[in-house]
């Protein structure tokens, strides 16, 4: 029994402690105290002095807590002091015959459990503060970023080499370590340089590797794949950073970080086993046909006779009937088909969809071929119709390939709301419905900006401050609901807030004040709400960081128009506002109205056409001898003669003999005169090539069902063109 060394260690602790400045425990002293406590605990165990052991354990926990909290507070200090004194007493008790004073120790322990017992936060408050302030100001200097890019890319190359080594030697811990380190280093520097995406991703991968290092996860192809994928994503992020530095402002990497993080999570949790194909034996065990023990036994048998498969071994051993085995096999195969997916380059996918579009058009051309119309060959007709149904199925399948759920966009918005609510001091929750609704991948990015603007508006102008909400008898936290669903060929996205709603009177006053409308125009509430989409109308009286400053809803409207979408507002004062935006599912196909002018055919986006009419002669007038106007239900609208504008031969010269389309674009409406409406058709949009990019009035082309080429009109460009032409005429 070595009571002396125990007492010695306690005394050493006490004297170390005496030297401390009142109230704080510095790190080196804490280290020495911990080392002494380790000795004390060891000796106490040998002496079977339970109260002493408990006491030292308690002090260790307390000290660790103090270290993690950067010095600890007054209370920790007092508790430590008390603990050491108590330890001295209990220690001296050991040398005497008195029983150790278990009661005091018990009291002390419950006292310090409260101090240390709140658990040890992984990140101490001070550390968290450091991280928040992170990215140390003044460190965003370019040369550091350049160094990081060069070194980071070198590290990623290293990762790529090492991962192949790991694949070949999955058990080699050195390989794991050599992979861990580069991720770790990249993470560290990215933290300083405010490169949050890079830091986050490197951190996830580092965690994954840490699990492998600690044998919590074994290396398999899923792990290798996800690490490689992660390294690729990191590379893409770093390369885009490089591009940005070189002055390509829009060089955002095409990396889906959330999906990647989710996959890393799956791999970490071993979900790969669930998703992958289960072994036959496992299926049988799950179905309760055999027990696990039987399986292990038979697996051993099957190992000895390599020619025998597990199913055969089970049947041979009478453990399962052939029927059960074949059922399990069938299950396995169906799982395999569920699990099988491959990744394809999106550009290949785009090509495929383009080609299918061409195929559909070619098919229509064949159908309309006069030879075919006159033929009496029934087999040929049958085959053609069969071909048609296959092609439309093919078109449906291929378009669906490029569809992805809107979930990610919603999640991004949720994060945005969280940030915004913090910035504005409001409490806002987000509710989502229909996040599985699918939309063309190419549309996802396009719709993000207008959605963000609407959400910003909802948080900033819609949802009230907590106090204001309480006064109005609403829950303190506001709710923004995001909802997505399909309607016809469109995806509808609703953004609803339960805030204060739009103030129709305020909007009206502002619009009148800005000269946007005339006083007493007699607008309906709905029409008044739509005024907020006009440029230069922001009803917020104070300009905030979040929104305001007059660039707001008009930008939204423009962006939505560009996507051939629509937006509507519903609002009840005091109850909230709902923005209902609808977008076409894809930008590759347009629903167009085919019109004819002379021999030319044009396509007008159906979404831009408000109405078609043949005006009465009395409704057409000429202002100042040149500007022709049509009176459309009481409103005078300028007339555009398409044949004049494009310099082609039109058939009809008088508006009252031809067809007039009322076309809307960006708050302007004009009448467009054409010879004939040929019908409505969904057409696949074809770019006109770089040479035609500057051509005004037409946006792109399409191959029509009859094989002819039609130009797709761009209303906005068309209006501009007509206005310049008008100006030229006047001069």
């Amino acid at each position: 029994m070595d009571v002396d060394s125990l007492i010695h260690a306690i005394d050493a602790m006490a004297s170390d402690f005496l030297l401390l400045e009142r109230g704080t425990v510095d790190v080196p002293t804490a280290g020495r105290l911990l080392n002494q406590l380790e000795i004390i605990s060891g000796e106490a165990l040998k002496l079977d002095a339970e109260p002493m052991r408990r006491l030292s354990g308690g002090l260790v926990a307390l000290l660790e807590n103090v270290i993690m909290n950067g010095g600890g507070g007054e209370a920790d200090f007092t508790a430590l002091q008390k603990g050491i004194t108590l330890m001295q007493e209990v220690g001296s008790g050991l040398t005497k015959t008195d029983a150790p004073r278990g009661k005091d120790v018990g009291e002390f322990m419950s006292e310090i459990t409260q101090l240390a017992g709140d658990g040890f936060p992984e990140e101490t408050p001070s550390a968290a503060k450091e991280q928040e302030g992170g990215g140390a100001s003044g460190l965003q200097d370019e040369s550091l970023l350049r160094d990081f890019i060069v070194e980071g890319l070198e590290y990623i190359n290293e990762i790529e080499v090492n991962i192949l080594n790991l694949e070949q030697n999955p058990e080699d811990k050195d390989c794991v370590n050599s992979l861990f380190r580069p991720f770790h280093s990249i993470k560290g520097v990215a933290g300083f340089l405010n490169l949050d995406d890079i830091r986050e991703l490197a951190h996830r991968l580092e965690d994954l590797l840490d699990k492998i290092r600690k044998d919590e996860l074994s290396v398999n192809t899923d792990v290798i794949d996800v690490i490689l994928e992660g390294a690729d994503a990191l590379k893409a992020l770093i390369v885009s950073l490089q591009k940005k530095l070189e002055g390509h402002p829009s060089a955002d990497p095409e990396v889906d970080l959330e999906a990647l993080a989710a996959r890393i999570g799956d791999v970490e949790e071993g979900n790969h086993a669930e998703k992958g194909v289960k072994r036959l034996g496992e299926i049988l065990v799950e179905d309760g046909v055999i027990t696990r023990e039987t399986l292990t036994e038979c697996l051993d048998v099957a190992k000895e006779t390599p020619a025998k498969k597990i199913g055969e071994a089970l049947i041979a051993g009478g453990k399962a009937t052939p029927k059960q085995v074949s059922q399990a096999l069938r299950k396995q195969i169906s799982q395999a088909s569920e699990a099988a997916s491959i990744r394809v380059d999106t550009s290949k996918l785009d090509d495929l969809i383009d080609m299918v579009g061409e195929l559909v058009i070619t098919q229509t051309m064949i159908r309309q071929n006069p030879v075919l119309r006159e033929t009496a060959d029934e087999k040929l007709l049958r085959d053609i119709s069969q071909l048609g149904s296959i092609i439309s199925e093919l078109q449906r399948t291929s378009t669906s390939l490029r569809m992805i759920p809107i979930k990610q966009t919603f999640q991004k918005i949720t994060r945005l709301v969280r940030d915004l609510s913090k910035a504005t001091g409001k409490k806002v929750n987000v509710a989502m419905t229909g996040e599985e609704t699918e939309i063309d991948r190419n549309m996802v990015e396009e719709i993000y900006n207008p959605l963000v603007h609407m959400v910003r508006n909802a948080v900033d102008h819609g949802v009230e401050k907590p106090a204001e909400r309480m006064m109005a008898g609403k829950p303190e936290a506001g709710t923004i609901s995001l909802k997505a669903y399909h309607r016809g060929g469109t995806i509808v996205i609703e953004i609803a807030d339960d805030g204060k709603g739009l103030d129709a009177q305020k909007i009206l006053d502002k619009a009148v004040g800005n000269g946007l409308i005339e006083a007493g125009a007699g607008l309906t509430e709905q029409e008044i709400f739509r005024l907020i989409f006009l440029p230069g109308l922001s009803t917020a009286s104070t300009v905030s960081d979040v929104s305001g400053r007059g660039v707001g809803m008009d930008v939204v409207k423009k962006a939505i128009d560009k996507l051939r979408g629509k937006v509507d507002i519903q609002s009840v004062k005091g109850k909230g506002t709902t923005f209902i935006a609808s977008f076409p599912l894809t930008m590759a196909i347009i629903d167009g109205m085919i019109v004819r002018v002379g021999k030319e055919k044009y396509i007008v986006p159906t979404s831009a056409v408000r109405l078609l009419l043949r005006p009465d002669r009395s409704e057409c007038s000429t202002v100042a001898q040149k500007a022709e106007m049509v009176n459309v239900r009481g409103t005078l609208m300028p007339l555009i003669r398409l044949h004049e504008l494009f310099g082609i031969d039109g058939e009809r010269k008088k508006p009252w003999e031809s067809i007039v389309m009322v076309v809307d674009s960006d708050n302007r409406s004009k009448c467009v005169m054409v010879d004939e409406i040929l019908g409505k058709e969904e057409v696949v949009i074809k770019g006109l090539g770089d040479g035609m990019k500057k051509a005004k009035g037409v946006s792109s082309g399409a191959i029509l069902g009859d094989g002819n080429i039609g130009l797709i009109l761009d209303p906005e460009g068309l209006f501009d063109l007509s206005e310049t032409a008008m100006g030229a005429k006047r001069r």
Binding site: E21, D26, V27, P28, A30, G31, L34, N35, E38, E64, I67, M68, F120, E122, E123, T124, A127, E130, Q131, G133, G134, G135, A136, S137, G138, L139, D141, L144, D147, F148, E151, G152, Y155, N177, S178, F180, R181, H184, S185, I186, K187, G188, V189, G191, F192, L193, E206
Partner: protein
């Protein structure tokens, strides 16, 4: 505060060394030497005296923890203040380093101010 002290920055990532160097310069420390791992640090320490070691934990060849133990076991070097840089405030790691005699630790990423505070704390202790 004595700002003439010489500081050895140990990290395998050159950019990281530069980051720390920049931060140190922001708060007035100019006398800085670098090493890319524990082994390299030891050979620097053999050839010249430094007043403070700032080392990353995770490095190839010889980690910061191993360097710390080697420094504390060396008669000449054992009193040299040692600031450990860790990626996360993980209790196990920190306590391990504290027991091995680290002077203080700092969690990445940190600001120049925080770094300066930690250094001041270390030197206040050794001075008293």
């Amino acid at each position: 505060m004595e700002k003439k002290i010489s500081i050895l920055v140990v990290d395998d990532f050159a950019t990281m060394r530069k980051v720390i160097r920049n931060l140190l310069k922001q708060v007035g420390y100019e006398n800085i030497v670098e090493a890319e791992n524990g082994e390299a640090a030891l050979s620097v320490l053999k050839s010249r005296k430094v007043d403070l070691i700032i080392s990353d934990w995770n490095m190839p060849t010889m980690s910061g923890y191993e360097l710390l133990k080697a420094v504390r076991a060396d008669d000449e070097l054992q009193k040299t203040p040692f600031l450990m840089v860790t990626a996360e405030a993980l209790k196990d790691n920190v306590v391990q380093a504290v027991k091995a005699g680290v002077s203080n630790y700092i969690v990445k990423p940190f600001t120049a101010e925080v770094l300066n505070d930690k250094i001041s704390q270390i030197f206040k202790k050794t001075a008293s």
